[in-house]
Amino acid sequence: MNRRTARPIARRGALAALGAGGLASLAAACSSSDPLAEETSDAAGGGGGASDAGGGAAGSLVVGSQAYYSNEIIAELFAQVLEAAGLTITREYQIGQREVYLPELESGAVDLLPEYTGNLLQYYQADAPSASPEEIAEALAGVLPDGLTALPFAAATDQDSYTTTADFASANSLAAIPDLAGVQEDLKIAANSEFEARPYGPAGVKETYGVDVALVPVEDSGGPLTVKALTDGTVQLADIYTADPAIQKNGLVTLEDPESLILPQNVVPIASAKVDDAAAAEIAKVTGALTTEELIALNTRSIDEQAKSADIAREWLAEKGIVA
């Protein structure tokens, strides 16, 4: 008797639960809110901690970095020099690509982030013509949205490049990118997938230099997989950053860019309105001492010794006498 009534009830209960669950997921799927927009602001708000967008003390800042180890080291240099000056710093490192973190800077969720002059300029102004580092920095100041400032840039550069092996360069007499037009074989370049959309990507070099190159996407931003693809001969070219120690270690050759298709990429601190003159002066101590050689040395420590960015930054600042 019990079994006959219990089973239909249990089944009805199960069906009801299933139906409720189905309705709930249907409601969620039909919602028009942008789940990704919410996520970004939540992550920034939750991780912001001490510094509130609008309510926090002037003595606290949020320092961010790109998803790039070298950028994180530079950000850590800024963070530590500001901490030595008495500010409270919250770190939001490894945020992502430009399309992800610039909205955070603009909204004030992040206060300071090291950027690279040329790429940032081309992000806001796709048709920005190439020029000297000073002119690029000036143009950048003109296109930054209200509330963001480009502090004085450093001598250090870290730009995308068309890099090849020494053998390939000598075999085809390559010194500059236009020389690639004369190479008989099909050219392949290993780079991140977004290289396709960049102004200096395959479309750009085709238009400016008449060079045909196909992208082989390797998603490690010029890292060991990309370098290995180049040294193995799987690709003839690779987009390796000029501050990458791998170029010297593997005897690679960076091709000249006579038309400056790849804009100069000087390290430039991008600051929100919360960064006052005192903080800017502290940051200037770092940018004043940061040359490309210094940057390569910092990067080498990270790669060879697997040292943490906090340790590398602390020791460099002490060595330069910037922070005791």
């Binding site: 039909c30 919602s31 789940p35 690509q97 996407p217 060991p224 290995k228 693809a229």
Partner: protein, 222 residues
């Protein structure tokens, strides 16, 4: 919902259906990588699993090894192998094989084990050799479980095959990575939808195979 509609709009653009980077090509590449991974894994895992299931020995080792293999993150494996052998198809294929082996192994030995031991006894009593018992009794009767293992492995590999694009290969991962890196979320979502659709289609086909290879006239055990 807007993101979903944008993704569907992306999929319906006819320009995407031609050329080396078009959807049909990427689908074909994706299927190819999956087939390669599953077939190679099957060549290794199924004979091994049948051996373990038939002889009853080494089962503990097989279970432990597949458990350990399941825990390995596939992207980590792809990166690790690519550092050793370079970019290209070899590194992700090795990773997919490792991904597929546990399910195939489990499918194979459970196929043998599921057969009623009395049936196996009867077969031996009739004078069948061990190989004949395996191929004429255990395998046909356990086929549904084997196909279930193949289905599980295929599903896992087809949803992970997008990682092949991480090291310069094609496949639907191209849409997903490019969409992710340039914040072109309709493209990323469209790529994911294609992977899901492909997985469902393949699963449906294997379900059909499972139904067709079901042993007819078999008396259920117990």
């Amino acid at each position: 919902m807007n993101q979903l509609l944008a993704a569907l709009e992306w999929l319906l653009d006819p320009a995407r259906y031609s050329g080396p980077g078009g959807i049909p090509m990427r689908l074909a590449e994706h299927l190819g990588y999956t087939a390669l991974g599953v077939v190679l894994a099957a060549v290794i895992a199924i004979p091994l699993g049948l051996l373990v299931g038939h002889t009853g020995r080494g089962r503990g080792l097989a279970v432990a090894a597949s458990g350990a293999a399941r825990a390995l993150p596939t992207l980590g494996l792809v990166t690790l192998f690519a550092l050793l052998v370079g970019i290209g198809l070899l590194a992700p294929t090795l990773a997919f094989v490792i991904l597929a082996i546990p399910s195939l192994l489990a499918g194979a030995y459970s196929a043998c084990e599921a057969v009623d031991p009395r049936t196996v006894d009867a077969a031996r009593a009739q004078g069948m050799t061990e190989m004949q018992v395996l191929t004429r009794v255990e395998l046909p009767l356990g086929m549904p479980l084997l196909i279930t293992g193949i289905r599980a492995a295929t599903l896992q590999v087809i949803s992970t095959a997008m990682l092949a694009a991480y090291v310069g290969n094609g496949g639907l991962g191209r849409f997903i990575f490019l969409g992710l890196k340039t914040q072109d979320y309709p493209q990323m979502l469209a790529g994911s939808l294609l992977v899901i659709a492909l997985a469902l289609v393949l699963d449906g086909m294997l379900l059909l195979v499972q139904a067709l290879t079901r042993p007819r006239g078999a008396v259920p055990a117990g």
